[in-house]
C-alpha cells in the first residue's frame, strides 16, 4: 500500500473476519488437550494409588501396640523404630540447621558476589547432587569402620546432616535475599551493628523461609534409607542416647527389610511402618503449608490478596448492607 493511498483514506478497511478453524487443526487441538489430560491422570493416579494401597495393606492387621512395643525381629511393634526415626531426624535438623543456616547467612550476607561465594555455593550445590547411597557408603568407610564408631547414632547424624545441609542453606539464602533492601538500609541508618541488624531486622521476615527449609530437611531425613543402613544399621531396642557403638532402629529400615520376612507378623510391621512414614511426611507437608499460610496472613503486604472473609465483608460493605468499618 502506498503512502498516498493511506493519506487519501482510500485504503480498504482491514477485513476482520471470523476465520473458521480448519478441521485438521481442531483435531490436533483436541488430541493435544486429551494427551495433557491423560498426563495429568498419570500424575494423580499413582499418588492416590500409593496412599490407598499402603493404607489397605496396613489397616486389616493394624494394632495400636505398634506404638508401645519394640520390634523383636519376628513381630512385636515399632516403638524402637519410631523413636529412632524421631531421634535421627530431629538430631539431623538441629545439626544441619546450625550449619545450614550459618552457611546460608554467610552466602547471602557476607560474600554475595565474590569468587569465594561462588566456589562455596558450587560446592553446596554439588553436594546436593550426590546420591544418598554414596553418602552412606562414605560414612560407613570413614566413620563406622575408619573411626571405629561402629553402627551407631553419630555416623548417621553426620551423614544425614551433610546430606540435607544444602537444602537448608539454599532456602536460608533465598529467604534472606527476599528481605527488602530498605529494611537493611533503615537498620544501618540507625547505626545498628551487623549482628544486631541481622538478629532484630533481617532474620525475622526470613524466618518462615528458613523454617520451611528445616521442615524439608526433616522430611528428607524421615524418608531416607540408603544413608542409614550402613551407618545406623538397626536395633530392636529404643535408643538410649549413646552416640557411638549402639545401633539405632528407624522406620524405613523396617519397611525395606521386614516385607519379605517369612513370618506374617513381620510383614505386617513393614506395612505399618510404610503407613506411619506416609503419615509423618504428610504431617510435615501440612506443617510447611501452615507456615506459608500464616506468614501470608500476617505479612505486611497481605492486602494484596484479601482472604475470603475479607472479600465477603468488602462485598457486603460495598452493597450497603453493612456500615464500613472505621
Amino acid at each position: 500500500m502506498t503512502l498516498e493511498a493511506i493519506l487519501s483514506g482510500a485504503s480498504p478497511r482491514p477485513q476482520v473476519q471470523k476465520e473458521r478453524i480448519s478441521r485438521g487443526r481442531r483435531i490436533v487441538d483436541r488430541a493435544w488437550w486429551g494427551a495433557c489430560a491423560i498426563s495429568l491422570f498419570f500424575v494423580v493416579v499413582p499418588v492416590v494409588w500409593v496412599l490407598v494401597s499402603i493404607t489397605a495393606k496396613a489397616l486389616p492387621h493394624w494394632q495400636w501396640s505398634v506404638f508401645t512395643e519394640n520390634s523383636t525381629g519376628v513381630g512385636g511393634g515399632l516403638l524402637n523404630a519410631i523413636v529412632g526415626t524421631v531421634v535421627i531426624s530431629v538430631g539431623t535438623a538441629i545439626l544441619a540447621g546450625c550449619v545450614g543456616i550459618g552457611c546460608g547467612i554467610y552466602l547471602a550476607e557476607f560474600t554475595p558476589r565474590s569468587l569465594t561465594a561462588s566456589v562455596l555455593r558450587g560446592a553446596t550445590e554439588t553436594l546436593a547432587g550426590i546420591p544418598s547411597i554414596v553418602f552412606g557408603y562414605c560414612g560407613y568407610l570413614a566413620l563406622v569402620v575408619g573411626l571405629h564408631w561402629g553402627f551407631s547414632l553419630a555416623p548417621a547424624l553426620v551423614v544425614l546432616s551433610l546430606l540435607v545441609v544444602p537444602y537448608i542453606a539454599k532456602s536460608t539464602e533465598i529467604a534472606l535475599h527476599q528481605v527488602p533492601l530498605a529494611y537493611r538500609e533503615g537498620g544501618e541508618a540507625l547505626g545498628m551493628s551487623m549482628p544486631y541488624l541481622l538478629r532484630k531486622v533481617v532474620l525475622r521476615p526470613a524466618l518462615p523461609g528458613i523454617l520451611t527449609g528445616i521442615i524439608l530437611a526433616l522430611a528428607i531425613s524421615v524418608g531416607e534409607t540408603a544413608p542409614l543402613i550402613y551407618t545406623a544399621n538397626f536395633s530392636n531396642s529404643v535408643p538410649t542416647g549413646a552416640l557411638i557403638h549402639e545401633p539405632v532402629g528407624y522406620l524405613t529400615y523396617a519397611a525395606y527389610t521386614f516385607y519379605d520376612d517369612p513370618i506374617p507378623a513381620a510383614q505386617h510391621l513393614a506395612a505399618d511402618a510404610s503407613l506411619i512414614l506416609a503419615a509423618m511426611v504428610l504431617g510435615l507437608i501440612l506443617c510447611s503449608r501452615l507456615i506459608v499460610r500464616l506468614t501470608q496472613r500476617y505479612s505486611p503486604d497481605r492486602h494484596s490478596r484479601p482472604s475470603r472473609a475479607e472479600r465477603r465483608l468488602a462485598d457486603r460493605v460495598g452493597s450497603g448492607s453493612l456500615p464500613a468499618p472505621r
Binding site: S39, I105, G129, I130, P131, S132, Y230, T252, V281
Partner: protein, 352 residues
C-alpha cells in the same frame, strides 16, 4: 565544664560499644564462614575417602571394571592372594558393566516417561483447569516428592509390578516391534520386577520436580505474548507450541537433567522393584540392578571378604556413580543457570 565531662563519658561508652560490636561482627563472620566451608570440606572428604579405599581396586580391576559383566567375590574360603599390591581372594572378579548399563538404562526409561507426562500435566493445569484443582494437584506433587522411596518400593513390589506384569506387559509384548533394538521383545515378561517397572517408579520420582518447574514457569509467561498468539487466530495448542513451549523449554530441560541426576542415584526403590540381579537384562522386562542398588544389596556379602577387597570394589563403583551424577548435575546447573539469568525465573526449585 559539665558539658565536657559528659562528652568524654559518652565517647568512652560508645568506644566500648563499638568494640563489642566489632567483636560480635567478627564472631558472626567467622562463625557463619566456617559453617559455609563445611559442605566443601564434606565433599572433599567424601572424595578422598572413596579414592583411598578404591585405589587398590582400581589398580587390580583395571579397565575390565567397565567392560566385564562378571561380579563375583571368588572363593571366600581360599587363601588370599596379592596381585600388584592388592590383597584379594582367589577367583575374585569385578566387572561393573551390568551395573553401569542398568543405571543408565533405568534412568533413560524414567526420563523418557516422565518428561511428557510432567509437562503435559503442568500445561493442562495452568492453561485449562481452575485454581482449586491446581492447588489439589500441587499437593499431590508435594506428596509424591515426599513419600519415602522405601514406601514407593514396597508399593512397586506389591501393587504396581504385579499389575503391570498381569495386564500391561503381555499386551506390550504382543505389539509389533516398531521400536529399535527390539526392546519390548524377548518373550518373557517376567513377574513385574525389572527394568521397565524400575524405570516407571523412577519416573514417578522425577515427575514432581519437572512438573512443578514447568507449572511455575508457565504461570510466568507474559499474558501479552499469549494474547498475541490468540490474535493471530491460533488454537490454544498452536499458541502453546509457539509461545509457551519456547518460554519454558530450557528451564524444563534443566529440571529434567536435575531429575535425571536424582534417578541415577536412587537406591532403595530400585533395589526393591528391579529384582536386584547383577546381570544385564535380555529385554526391557527383565531383572537388573543399578550401581546404587548394588552397593546397598552387595555390601552385606562384601563384608564377608576377609581381605576387604570386595568393599574396595564397591567403593570403586560408588566413585563411578559419583562421577556420573556430578557430570549430569554440572550440565543441569549450567543449563538452569543460563536460563535463570536470561529470564530471572526460579528454575528447578524442589517440589518437596
Amino acid at each position: 565544664m559539665m558539658n565536657n565531662r559528659l562528652v568524654d563519658m559518652t565517647s568512652e561508652v560508645s568506644k566500648g560499644r563499638a568494640r563489642v560490636a566489632r567483636i560480635g561482627q567478627r564472631a558472626l563472620v567467622y562463625g557463619t564462614g566456617s559453617a559455609a566451608v563445611i559442605p566443601m570440606l564434606g565433599l572433599a572428604a567424601m572424595i578422598v575417602v572413596l579414592l583411598r579405599e578404591a585405589i587398590p581396586a582400581i589398580r587390580y580391576n583395571g579397565l575390565g571394571f567397565f567392560t566385564s559383566s562378571v561380579w563375583t567375590i571368588g572363593n571366600e574360603y581360599g587363601t588370599p592372594v596379592a596381585t600388584g599390591g592388592a590383597l584379594h581372594l582367589p577367583g575374585e572378579h569385578y566387572g561393573a558393566w551390568p551395573l553401569i548399563a542398568g543405571t543408565l538404562e533405568s534412568s533413560l526409561v524414567a526420563i523418557i516417561v516422565a518428561m511428557p507426562i510432567a509437562v503435559g500435566a503442568a500445561v493442562i493445569l495452568v492453561e485449562r483447569l481452575p485454581k482449586s484443582i491446581g492447588a489439589a494437584v500441587g499437593l499431590c506433587l508435594e506428596v509424591l516428592a515426599g513419600i519415602p522411596s522405601a514406601v514407593i518400593g514396597l508399593w512397586g513390589i506389591f501393587s504396581l509390578g504385579p499389575f503391570l506384569a498381569r495386564t500391561v506387559y503381555p499386551g506390550l509384548e504382543r505389539l509389533p516391534n516398531v521400536f529399535p533394538f527390539g526392546i519390548f521383545h524377548g518373550g518373557f515378561v517376567s513377574n513385574g520386577q525389572g527394568l521397565l517397572t524400575g524405570g516407571l517408579v523412577l519416573a514417578m520420582m522425577i515427575i514432581p520436580l519437572v512438573a512443578s518447574t514447568a507449572r511455575d514457569l508457565l504461570r510466568q509467561v507474559p499474558t501479552l505474548t499469549k494474547e498475541g498468539a490468540e490474535a493471530l487466530g491460533m488454537t490454544r495448542t498452536e499458541s502453546f507450541m509457539t509461545v509457551q513451549a519456547r518460554w519454558i523449554r530450557s528451564g524444563v530441560i534443566g529440571a529434567a537433567v536435575l531429575g535425571l541426576g536424582r534417578a541415577l542415584g536412587e537406591t532403595i526403590a530400585i533395589a526393591l522393584v528391579t529384582g536386584s540381579v547383577l546381570k544385564l537384562t535380555p529385554n526391557i522386562y527383565g531383572s537388573m540392578t543399578t550401581i546404587a542398588a548394588a552397593i546397598v544389596t552387595q555390601l552385606d556379602s562384601a563384608q564377608g571378604d576377609p581381605t576387604g577387597f570386595a568393599v574396595r570394589s564397591l567403593a570403586e563403583a560408588a566413585l563411578v556413580l559419583m562421577a556420573i551424577t556430578l557430570i549430569v548435575n554440572a550440565v543441569a546447573r549450567r543449563l538452569v543457570k543460563r536460563f535463570a539469568r536470561q529470564t530471572q525465573l526460579p528454575v528447578g526449585r524442589d517440589a518437596r
